[in-house]
Subunit: 224 residues, 4 copies
Amino acid sequence: MSDITPDGPRRRISLRTTRMEALSDGIFAIAATLLVLDLAIPAVTSKNVGHQLAEQWPTYVAYLVSFATIGNAWLNHSVITEYLDRADAILLRLNLALLFFVSVLPFPTHMLAEYLSNEGDERIAVTIYGLNLLAISGFISIVWHYALWQGLVTKDNSEADVRALTTKLDPSLVSYVVVIGIGLWRPGVAVVFYFVIALFMIIPFRTVLRELRHRRRASPPHPR
Amino acid sequence: MSDITPDGPRRRISLRTTRMEALSDGIFAIAATLLVLDLAIPAVTSKNVGHQLAEQWPTYVAYLVSFATIGNAWLNHSVITEYLDRADAILLRLNLALLFFVSVLPFPTHMLAEYLSNEGDERIAVTIYGLNLLAISGFISIVWHYALWQGLVTKDNSEADVRALTTKLDPSLVSYVVVIGIGLWRPGVAVVFYFVIALFMIIPFRTVLRELRHRRRASPPHPR
Amino acid sequence: MSDITPDGPRRRISLRTTRMEALSDGIFAIAATLLVLDLAIPAVTSKNVGHQLAEQWPTYVAYLVSFATIGNAWLNHSVITEYLDRADAILLRLNLALLFFVSVLPFPTHMLAEYLSNEGDERIAVTIYGLNLLAISGFISIVWHYALWQGLVTKDNSEADVRALTTKLDPSLVSYVVVIGIGLWRPGVAVVFYFVIALFMIIPFRTVLRELRHRRRASPPHPR
Amino acid sequence: MSDITPDGPRRRISLRTTRMEALSDGIFAIAATLLVLDLAIPAVTSKNVGHQLAEQWPTYVAYLVSFATIGNAWLNHSVITEYLDRADAILLRLNLALLFFVSVLPFPTHMLAEYLSNEGDERIAVTIYGLNLLAISGFISIVWHYALWQGLVTKDNSEADVRALTTKLDPSLVSYVVVIGIGLWRPGVAVVFYFVIALFMIIPFRTVLRELRHRRRASPPHPR
């Protein structure tokens, strides 16, 4: 992509964000759906299928946490692209790095399911899993901060909105770092925390509360 | 996402529906296509391949019912987004919950295929399968009712259209609950019913009849 | 979807074609890519890997024919949606039937690869494969004829264009029926024919020839 | 598609590029995500899982190189479609050929991972892998040159931009040919080179350097 332009000393290629959005939606969708391939069907044995399913609980926990994490990453990503005006060559690459960690998540998820409740190896599996979650959150923050820094965000967003998204993205990084530390010491506890983080991110407790409180005060905005 | 805005006491982030549609189309497409991975190829043995294929009928029944259910869910979902004006943060999350149950469907489908005609375990497999179908239908209704409640639907739709979609979505919930009940008692019969429900949803019998009746009366609208 | 409208005695819901296109592109893309999962990696044995790959030729032939057929179906489908003005509820369902046969293609492709050069069962595999190709071609024609019949095609297309697409879609149906017949008698020959049909569809021999002839006569339209 | 039109001696059907972009994004996304299916989970054995993961290094190298190559192909492809005004029937077919080689990449990637550090067969695996990378780069160049030749590129791009993209796409072809040659002689060295090529393509060293240099001189364009 050319670097010298008539407009000034430097110029970056400026791209529509549609293809970046399409590739991202594709990879988010596929990664979320591929997770299901790891849900093994209990074999037809003398054992009751209900018991067998119950024994597979680590698989289901890993599946839920990963799906919720991918879902939340997609939510944040779609808010970011809502604000984006255009993309440049570096933003697309940072986004590819994010998509790399999204698309690889089924692998540590599978490892987690395999090694959970398997003393010794559990620690390695939980740590690799946590690092992957951290990388996803980290690159979402990096994409957002890069877009802000380079002025790729549409001008008509209020300062408050932009600041609100920033204060939403960055704290999750800290919580992942803390839980990875906990996991080195107590892997099982870390998995519970990853589940809680995912739940908190995916269920907008504050919004729901506010909505309910609001509803008691006023009539619904669009009654039918 | 910020909650206090200059416009009034509360404000929700308002998003285009394009990315929600793209992620949904991706997950519907992948879930529908992943089902085929469970169609096992008969091994090359002394046995005739035709016989082997015929013996695998539960796999094909499960495949057909699941494909038809996903197809019908997509149909309803695309009518809903046709009416949507914009999305908010909670709608996106309800949609993610719907997509969770769509993307997980290959798992109970596989279980159904494995355990059908396997007395005892068949009951558990059929019930889990039915609960998954119910969850898909349920979350489609929830997404629609939430959008109506929050006024996310474009204003230029006639009351009649909106009511028509509502009366189309809700009855399927009842039929799923009834068939899950039947399945606890007679699993094989429930599968037949799931197939019939899917057929009724996917083949618009009333529209076809009307179309044919109309055709006899008038000339086709666009003859060539 | 409501059937009685203020505009007249009957009314169909009229939908944008964007979601139908998105779901279709998703399923075409996934079906085409899933085919690669059937390309088995030769095991690390004493045997030379080159020899092993050469022995797997039926897999590669099946892969190529299926990819070319899906590619060609997508080409025709994208020309059809280019002409479409809007969709109705039945068109979406006919399109879902088409997508069903597209998404199921990896299964008979796998069977074909497994049973080719396996006398006896080969006949069944080749016939099922041919019926799948016929169903894809058939539903593409049905979607197109239905859209014409119901006046869902944009008015600004010339009669000639519309007729040209029709005369392009329908003959392939005849050739598939003929080759299925041949396959009942000589399965191996039918596979060669399926390959030839796919090649003829995917390589626009006439256009290339015309282009070359045109080039000799005139200068390229956009020289740089 | 009709060839004789009232507008002149010849005419090609002119299509929007949206469906071509959607199919391409789908196949790029799926091919990139399917790669993860080849990352085998170490079995639960007496052996330490960390050691087992370390022993699988060829798998991870192959995964990284393939993901980076697909990512870079997508980057170039999205710049090309940014310039495209419309598509014709041949461009769509050339694009399908490109997508064929993108979607098949998981196969040689798997072979590479299997045969790396396996003297004798390694050579064949590395060569097939290199030919696949060359085919992807080659067809991206062909799509671009065909679009230029046929005047499918929007007129409002500066000559400099267009030339810049051309000089970016073509040299990678040469480097692949050279490394395939090296691989016939020293397969392991070729894999290192494929990794280096992918890194150079994916990390825009020059842009980053320029950006940093620019930053030192001036204030960031959009400070917050």
